[in-house]
Amino acid sequence: MFDVRPVETDYVRHRAAQFRAQVARRLDGSLTEDEFRPLRLMNGVYLQLHAYMLRVAIPYGTISPDQMRMLAHLAQHYDKGYGHWTTRQNIQFNWPKLVDIPDMLDLLASVGMHAIQTSGNTIRNVTTDAFAGAAADEFADPRPYAELLRSWSTDHAEFQFLPRKFKIAITGAARDRALVAAHDIGLRLIQRDGATGFEVWVGGGLGRTPMLGQVIRDFLPEEDLLPYIEAIIATYNLSGRRDNKYKARIKITVAERGLDVFKAETEEEFLRRRRDFHGADRDALAVFARRFTPPAFRNAPATGYEAERQANPAFRSWTDTNLHPHRVDGYSSVIVTFKAAGATPGDASAGQMRLLADLAETYGHGDLRISHDQNVVLPHVHKSDLPALYLALRGAGLATANAGLTSDIIACPGMDYCTLATARSIPIAQEIADHFRAVGLEEEIGKLNIRISGCINACGHHHLGHIGILGLDRAGVENYQITLGGDGYDIPAIGQRAGAGFPAEEVVPAIDRLLRAYLELREDASERFIDAYRRLGPAPFKAALYPEVAHA
């Protein structure tokens, strides 16, 4: 079923007030920690290695300048001056005090934000392409559907206690930048015989048992989206395992029971569910679609853009790497990487957030996106504004020309913050980035996805890295396993473990050997690391990682 709440901000404020009362009852002893824990988790409050952590939802990574300014305010006044973009397009604050969180939630509610369903065994933030509504290769804007899914799944009574957490991704572009195959449900907007619909994937996920999803419906008419998604999740809710949390994700349900069985049950449930949808979802979608009408694009020449490219090599280099093709002539999407030298991947200071909010208003039609690779995207920038935008970004340390390159590393917080981690991720990311900058090979290596997780839960998406790094605890020492050949985009693939793990100090030398071998092995500069790996197989790369074994 689907009902649209008349005034959603009232609901968010109500939930914030409810949590304030729950915190008060925890502090006065009325609630034990066992009673309180599920309540705080339902509001995105975790207890981490050094402090509480508050995860705030940024639905499908889309955020307004005013919302960004509120995040800056929270970072400045309730944290240590920064926040952390997550790989699910959300933000985490690492140092809030429990007693302050009700105030933080009130402030978030004032700009329509919240932390609902950023934890727990519920439907989590729906993620999408950071270039949605802007990309040149996009067939249809996925955001109205993402908003429909968000609205429908928020506080959905039936799905508050699923066997395990549940993640949905949606894309409307030819190139999948939403990692559809790595989600519990993945949706690709497609067209068939003039009708719009979805290719529906199910059962993908990373974590300790990484699996790529499978197509459960090759064409779902778009008007059937909610009843079909509801049927999948209702089927999983009944048949998903609850005896073992490591086998409770839908990927295991589908793998154990077989896609055919799961699909048959889903289709049967779908026929029943569809009868309960009477058009409220269609009406809501029409309303949401109007929220995502394109901005008033300027039809103007890209004055000064090419001249500045010719005159300023640093600007040229930045435009070579950090722009993404826009569907409107004269426009580009700009990738602002949070991977400068010495930076923590995905960490944004309050000042940087405020600057981005201002720049989005000045140059970007007031639109901002958080990308799954822990960067920020200004989706709509006219090329004539790029020189000025670049200068403003550079002044704040936000104009590093490295999008998609070696130092644009995804890294989870790891054992610097996370209580689940088995090793640190951040220093490894920093050391790799520093090393390849120092030896000057980043440009020569070209496009490369390095992904680092500090435990098998794989928040750093290491399985999807061309080079993946997994931090483990081996007999009380940090140790790092390397996987090769993963890909989240063009040809989805789970990386394969290369061999024995490396102590922390040997990770950079190992990656250095690996990438120097790649430079020797590649046919030419247009053959990316992942292309060379696919052409040659793992053997020459393993030989570079483990020279002693190769020569033994």
Binding site: H50, Y52, L98, M415, I426, P427
Partner: protein, 109 residues
């Protein structure tokens, strides 16, 4: 994980938790709870440690997530034996935040 640890004379331990209201790390000491891990009580007897852990869990109006974890006797007090606890006693490695910053601040006062 370290939460199932039981101390002995050969492998002593400390009790650690987080401050309920603010979240920072704390260690059980003779006077209650301290943010300085070097002041922690070192338990060498299983029964005494288990009793102290029950007491810690009972202080849920003050702390959250109390557990026993291995430590060794050092010249200035208990020291961590595992890197996870060493990080908890220091702070993150990417910023000078957490206990390392608190200590520096205290030293400058």
């Amino acid at each position: 994980m370290s939460k199932a640890f039981t101390p002995t004379a050969a492998r002593p331990g400390v009790i650690t938790a987080n401050d309920l209201r603010e979240g920072h790390n704390l260690w059980m000491c003779d006077a209650g709870w301290t943010p300085d891990p070097a002041q922690a009580t070192l338990f060498e007897d299983e029964a005494i440690a288990e009793l102290a852990l029950l007491k810690a869990i009972g202080q849920s109006n003050l702390v959250v997530g109390a557990y026993l974890v291995e430590a060794r006797r050092g010249p200035n007090g208990p020291e961590p034996t595992h890197f996870r606890e060493a990080f908890r006693q220091t702070g993150p490695s990417n910023y000078f935040h957490g206990i390392q910053a608190q200590k520096a601040e205290a030293a400058n006062v």
